[in-house]
Subunit: 355 residues, 2 copies
DNA sequence: CTGAAAGCGCTAACAA
DNA sequence: TTGTTAGCGCTTTCAG
């Protein structure tokens, strides 16, 4: 166990010292430089020496210490990805895509979830900066721009994805929520709904420009239609969970409000609404039409068959990651400001109305 | 911009150098030691000096370089968590819980997904070892024990969670799948099913002892029952996706096989089966009973109402993380081998049979 | 209360 | 083809 040379020198908390280049060098009777270069392909080391070194490295279970390498190199080739909720599969999609692209380009991605808390967000970003990330992809949850100021003054390359807060004016790749709102409400109108409820998620997302843009867009559709005939649109503060949709349905019942068209900010909320309505004896797609957002994998089941708006999160993540790495490598000067157009997937929850 | 001292010395790929302790020391007219100590609480630095240092640090947007700190300290206080699929919410639960516990104990968690690929798994673990993790939590996907050998010979503290492969004999906290199988099949029997199909996921999970243990357990229940009366259990190779369940239903139809009780390895597969059966005119909970595993959040909806086996993944992750850190800190000598008992949640998909 | 010096593991420049 | 030296940013002696 020759490589445990510093065992006595310093007692670490874990029971043994990892082998280093120094250990290999000593055993192989070569310099540390030779060892270091033996791990690279195009270098000057003779095959014989390299083989000897590699064998010993394997023997000792040697793994290069990235802390040391990064410190020496002055860079980490690592980017950070801040998501809101790791339990939500579409964040998973984004992270997966990002990691894949980064890998192809020689970068590593570290990610962490804020759980919609501004405090967590601040903590995460701080830690990432300490970890010397070279760029950051952000799903903001902070309602104020205080975290963003940290990003700005750190001077780190960054990009916002999914949806952006009102205060943000940096580069972004987000989904076109105004268009999503248009798609949904126009569809409800087209199939005959004249009494529409929009269940937004102000509580969770109220400070995001997307929500406001969506409302404006919907109001706009509404106004252009209302010229021709009488139609009603009400907005409700709901949420993004099954329970949110159920709660909002109950509130409407209490308030004696009835709608023939419902648009929810995500599929789970829509499923919650459908569930509450069903318990009340109403048939989705027959007594009312309903549209969600996210195209959850279960929405396609016949038992649910929920019309939904599909957003290409992988595309968003791909563009963002490539952009970020381009910026890091000075291959990109132009600030990106991109909206991805979503797609409407029509299912039974809104198709029975059609004639 | 005094801290850009090395701007000319070395041209980094990113446009500017981050400030270091050296920069702060120079501006504050103190030693690097003083700066370093100013960031710690219990030390010898005068309040005046500390304030000066802290102000300058803030001014320069200073973030300590963790690579340097870790290198110097000889440890990273970081653990790795290898999951299989980031899009599956229950891995999210585990990661979230682990991160929270680690944080409380002063550790950081880095996680990565293998996507059920042994090759990815190997790559991830290798990278984590280079990143100098001090311990690792594993959801294995490799069918052979080659990756585990890397772990073993690296000598790193480790623990397996969720489910363990046959070849693995190290510490683990997994769910009691034999008991889960017992719960499910016993329940189906109790409500009157005498013709039961088990849709397992050998393709995805065949090399895991849990699957085998579950089969044994089910066979055991089966044998003890069959003494008293005629009852049939068939096993199918299905999968973990909605499409798996649908496909298996179709296969059964083709083979002219009919069952009154179905047990699937997860809820998605069960939903797929229900979906295919519904299209065929069969009513779940009426024409047949069905039980899943995982207690997906949508399983509770009336439209689905799927009986399921709930596994406390947070508990698993909590125990594993605490154990791992205990081992790292030499507070734990005993190898942990723990099974968590799951719970049966009965819903309509299997309750109509009851009288 | 403060500073000088050494060294964590690695690699790039420079010598041989 | 190989070795020597220096230094990345930080912290920990040890000496003032």
């Amino acid at each position: 166990m020759g490589f445990m040379r510093s065992q006595e020198k310093k007692q670490k908390i874990n029971s043994f010292q990892k082998p280093t280049i120094k250990d290999i060098a000593r055993i192989a009777n070569v310099s540390e430089t030779t060892v270091s270069l033996s791990f690279k392909n195009n270098s000057r080391i003779s095959d014989k020496t390299r083989q000897k070194v590699l064998n010993i490295a394997k023997e000792l279970n040697y793994f290069p210490n990235l802390s040391a390498r990064d410190l020496r190199a002055g860079r980490t080739k690592t980017i950070g990805f801040v998501i809101n909720d790791i339990k939500n599969p579409f964040y998973g999609s984004m992270v997966r895509t990002s990691e894949q692209i980064a890998l192809e380009r020689g970068y590593e991605v570290i990610f962490s979830e804020s759980q919609w808390s501004g405090k967590n967000e601040k903590f995460i970003i701080n830690r990432m900066l300490q970890n010397q990330i070279e760029g950051i992809i952000l799903c903001f949850s902070e309602k104020t721009e205080s975290t963003y100021k940290t990003i700005l003054s750190s001077g780190i390359p960054h990009i916002v994805v999914d949806t952006k807060p009102d205060y943000y004016h940096g580069p972004y790749v987000i989904n076109d929520s105004a268009f999503a709102g248009y798609l949904a409400v126009k569809h409800l109108y087209d199939i005959g709904c004249r009494n529409i409820a929009v269940l937004n998620a102000k509580e969770d997302l109220g400070y995001f420009s997307s929500v406001n843009e969506m409302e404006h867009s919907i109001s706009h559709v509404f106004n252009s239609i209302t010229q021709k005939e009488r139609i009603q649109i009400d907005f409700y503060d709901s949420g993004l969970k099954i329970s949110s949709g159920m709660k909002t349905y109950d509130e409407m019942q209490k308030a004696q409000k009835f709608y023939d068209g419902i648009f929810c900010m995500n599929d789970l909320c829509a499923m919650g609404y459908m569930n509450a309505a069903l318990r009340d004896g109403l048939q989705p797609g027959k007594d009312f039409a309903i549209v969600g957002v996210d195209d959850n994998e279960v929405s396609d089941l016949d038992m649910i068959s929920l019309t939904s708006i599909n957003i290409d999160y992988e595309e968003i993540s791909k563009i963002a990651t490539n952009y970020l790495i381009d910026v890091i490598e000075n291959k990109q000067e132009q600030k990106i400001e991109k909206m991805i157009r979503p797609e409407l997937i029509i299912r039974n929850s809104s198709s029975f109305f059609q004639t």
